[in-house]
Structure formats: C-alpha cells, structure tokens
Symmetry: C2
Subunit: 99 residues, 2 copies
C-alpha cells in the first residue's frame, strides 16, 4: 500500500466549491481500482491549501489505472476550476510502525 | 483533533539515521500530551524527503506543550543532525467524511 499526497492551492473564495467537489467525487474514488482510502486535509495556517491523502494498492493504480479512466476526467471537472495553480502530487510509503 | 504535517529534507546518506531517530523517538510522542498518532511517510519520488503526520488533540498540544518540553529537545537531538534544511511544519484539519 502507498499513500498519494496531492496538494491543492485553491483560488481565494473557491474553498467551499473545492470541498463540495471532492465530496461529490467520493464515489469515484471508492470505486477506483486499488483505492483503499481518502482523507481531505485543510491547512489551518493557509486555509486555501488542501491535501488529499489517498491510499492505493500500488503507484500504478493511481498513475495508470485512475489517470487513464473517464472517472479521472469527471473528478477534474468537479474540482479543476478551483485550482489557483496545478496540484503537486507525490507518492509515499509508510516507513514506521507508528501508533 | 488536528493533524500536523512536518516535512523533512534529509541530507543524502542520512536517510537511515533519520528513520532510526524517529523510531527511537516513538515513546516520546506516545507520552506527549494530546498526541494520538504518528505516521512516518517517505517519498517514493524523492527518497530523502520524509513527512511525519502527527495527530494531536489541539494545535497547542504541539506548539506549546510539546515544543516547550524537554522531550522535544530530546527528539531534536535524535534527528536534527540529519536535516538538510529546516523542517516545514503545518497544521491541518480533516474536512471530509472520507473512507
């Protein structure tokens, strides 16, 4: 399992529209191949900054299966008009037996 | 509950030392007032980049209680020699009923 971190800078005033778009898109992620979880984090210090933390079985479930799907295009239609700049996307691994 | 995201750029070759330092520090966070969870994520695209995701009851549990404690100084002793640049720290809220 890997964790995708996608960071979004949203246009001022579009924060609620972005949040609503992601919530509408939840079924898209729930049915995406290999997608095991979604969290949406909003920055306290910079309230126009959001992050989606997405759990995938593999990096390719995100970069190939999801990005190649029509569901990805539908997700973009729901949120891309809110972007102030293109999102920054990174993939990570959990490397600690935390708590 | 809030989620602190601390991003660390580690000096090349110090990745294992950083990971070991965080693992040694787990009891520090487990006993920190208001600390409810820790994850250490390592970037796949940039393997010298780590993030700690820490759950706290309040922002002040991190910024005042923890940073004011001797345990914080002990944590820094375990990992700060690995930093390539000062860490970037942000606090976030979970704003979606995700899955």
């Amino acid at each position: 399992m890997i964790i995708e971190i996608a960071q979004f800078e949203v246009k001022p005033g579009m924060e609620d529209a972005f949040k609503a778009g992601v919530k509408t898109a939840l079924p898209i992620f729930k049915r995406a191949k290999g997608c095991r979880g979604l969290q949406m984090l909003r920055s306290i210090e910079k309230p126009s900054r959001f992050r989606l933390l997405l759990k995938w079985d593999t990096v390719e479930n995100h970069t190939i299966d999801f990005r190649g799907s029509s569901d990805y295009q539908d997700f973009r239609k729901l949120v891309a008009h809110c972007y102030a700049v293109p999102p920054e996307v990174e993939h990570t691994e959990d490397v600690a037996a935390g708590f």
